[in-house]
Symmetry: C2
Subunit: 406 residues, 2 copies
């Protein structure tokens, strides 16, 4: 068996678990008979294009450093939001990339990311196939707090974000309940197109006993009438109303509720920048009910809060990384590692071609949303519960979680 | 020794530790030979005025319930923001209060809160003195995440909030560092008049290695020139600039930076409602540097995040409650329990007359702020560090912290 080198990159938005996956890939590589050097791309594919890489063996043959890496939030190697050009119209960047991979004797290319990152894997794999390049295998490793990747039961990173959101939701609900003055608290949660993160707010009430009165997902078109009717009804039984709302909430015509007042700017992938869904609802409720209204945006805290991690999520994140190395060893390319759930909750790892994953979004299914469209169902809660189980034991030093630094 | 009943109330903004103090007072009462029944006011002094009380013995002779109470955020008894009238001009409400206390044979009145709550204790105590009422003793028990009470080295609740802010700050700094595109992240932290909470952001860099580039406190007048010069200089060494800013940041003339766009509304204590300090700075930086700017408002999460608690803070919160009962047993009235710090960090509990505490604010001293006015000093960090030490062991159930419910 020919021994080659491996290279690993992280791409897209950071999560609290993406470094656990990086550690899993590194551990898989370290114990692989097919792999010698393990390189890390600085800032994803930018690191390959700019020849900015690190030799990871120097840092991570040490087990203590791998342990710290697993509890360090955000992308330790740095990230990027580069979208590669269509290989059939512009192949300059591909020549740079493949030239560098050849020069470094890379046989395994691991890319940890979401559906945009799988687009990168897909394009590299197609370019290689079209040019009969076979020295390198491209393996996608899933990562996203959004849980919106098709082909996999759920995504590494989602469980820890869901645990943080649910714990925070329970705490916010307690905080809001202390006064007798009628008030509405809106909690805005991430999720541009899929309501998975917002749905996890339901775990607060289901497990802890108190949470959001209503949960508004982007999958259900928003109407002011529904909002006013919901708040009106809730006020009949208690003075403090809490609403969990997705930043990606939309009107029936597809327009984002929070898009009013935005300048229409889009990112490199054509995604609209969003802000103000909560603030928009806040203004509507203030105007209609003349009561106190507050908006809490959980913001980037939900994707980086590594001081509280789901041990189920962290273990799966590590194993997903190891499964990626196995897929590479077995000669697969252009695939992403996915998870199947079994009935008694465990997961099995397999691969799915990235061409079926890239640029697609898995939304919350209809069976997970109640018929009124203002909360999730028991089926959804049953799906979510296993993902937040267990508290990852982390190392604290002088009162704060300890992080790995290069 | 005459045996009487006790009544306990919680007032002002909730914290993650105020119920630990409630548990401490309850434990002190349970083991006191002077105290029989322990009543809880629903929503602070409102509960006395409206005769809405609970018999706490029913719930908390059970040790497991006290344990849950100690890890439950927000005010379990409910809170209020009532300001009692001047006793010399309007004594109707005092007649109601003292009549009810007499009826229930209350000998000990414990009130857990901040400087507004100490104003309540002070007025009740002065009314009693002026009317030769001696059957009841009024003891204040400190509570505030703001750490702005005079007379005490620090306040119960502050350490856990500081720990949460510092941990979140370290995580946010990691999250912000992953991209190469120049960007500024503003983290808005609570604190209307004192910068203690914002100062705690400094622990992230000091302990963990990465945090805010600059820390702007309300104690130092804000100028746009300083902001632009700071960001300009930071951009010379790294693309991701992080600024921790107090919601109470002010201009030299005392006007709140975040007051622009507000409607000038004030709460019952005459405090201005604040919002938008971070957003105001965001607009200024966007306009000046044309770079990406994001604002993270930690919002009420910083006062209710009981999933991560400083064990130093929780232990002191409990002991403060017990010390309040001792002060009552010893015949004190019109006082608040305070903490002295000794050189090798421990604390000693004593009392200070509430008349010296009510309606006053302890701000961050000059020696704690650097001469540029854009960060804190080592002296400040040394003061802060002991307060966030230790991770309180809490009970989790099905993936979430378990809370106490009446």
């Amino acid at each position: 068996m020919e021994v080659k080198n491996a290279i690993i990159g992280q791409s897209g938005g950071p999560t609290a678990a993406i470094n656990a996956t990086l550690a899993g890939v590194i551990e898989g590589c370290l114990s692989s008979a097919c792999i010698d050097k393990i390189f890390g791309m600085r800032h994803g594919i930018e690191g390959v294009i700019n020849k900015d890489i690190l030799l990871l063996n120097d840092f991570f043959t040490d087990e203590y450093n791998r342990m710290l890496l697993k509890q360090t939030p955000a992308s330790a190697l740095g990230s990027c939001r580069v979208k590669l050009p269509d290989p059939s119209t512009d192949d300059a960047v591909y020549q740079t990339i493949f030239g560098f991979l050849k020069e470094k004797d890379i046989g395994y290319f691991f890319y940890i990311g979401g559906n945009d990152s799988m687009d990168t894997i897909d394009k590299l794999n197609r370019y290689a196939a079209a040019h009969s390049i076979s020295f390198v295998r491209f393996i996608g490793v899933p990562k996203t707090i959004d849980n919106d990747l098709v082909g996999t039961d759920h995504t590494p990173g989602y469980g820890s974000a869901a645990k943080y959101i649910a714990a925070s939701m329970a705490e916010i609900a307690r905080d809001c309940a202390v006064y007798t003055v009628p008030a509405v608290t809106i909690v805005e949660i991430m999720g541009r197109d899929a309501g998975w993160l917002t749905a996890s707010a339901a775990l607060a009430e289901s497990i802890n006993g108190q949470g959001a009165d209503f949960i508004y997902l982007p999958e259900i078109p928003f109407t002011a009438d529904r909002l006013f009717a919901d708040v009106e009804r809730a006020f009949q039984t208690h003075p403090n109303v809490v609403i969990a709302v997705s930043e990606g909430l939309r009107l029936a015509d597809g327009e984002y509720v929070g898009a009013s007042g935005q300048n229409g700017a889009v990112d490199v992938f054509g995604h609209k920048y969003l802000a103000g869904t909560g603030k928009t609802l806040e203004a509507m409720i203030k105007n209609h009910f003349s009561c106190k209204v507050r908006t809490v945006e959980i913001n980037i805290l939900q994707r980086c809060a590594a001081h509280v991690l789901s041990s189920t999520d962290i273990e799966e994140s590590i194993q997903t990384g190891r499964a990626a190395v196995q897929a590479g060893e077995q000669g697969e390319s252009g695939v992403m590692v996915c998870m199947n759930r079994t009935e008694e909750y465990t997961v099995q790892y397999h691969t799915v071609p990235v061409s079926q994953i890239a640029n697609q979004i898995k939304t919350v299914p209809t069976s997970f949303i109640n018929k009124e469209g203002n909360n999730v169902t028991e089926t959804c809660v049953s799906y979510l519960k296993p993902l937040i189980q267990g508290e990852q034991t982390i190392l604290w030093e002088n009162g704060l979680p300890k992080h790995f630094y290069f």
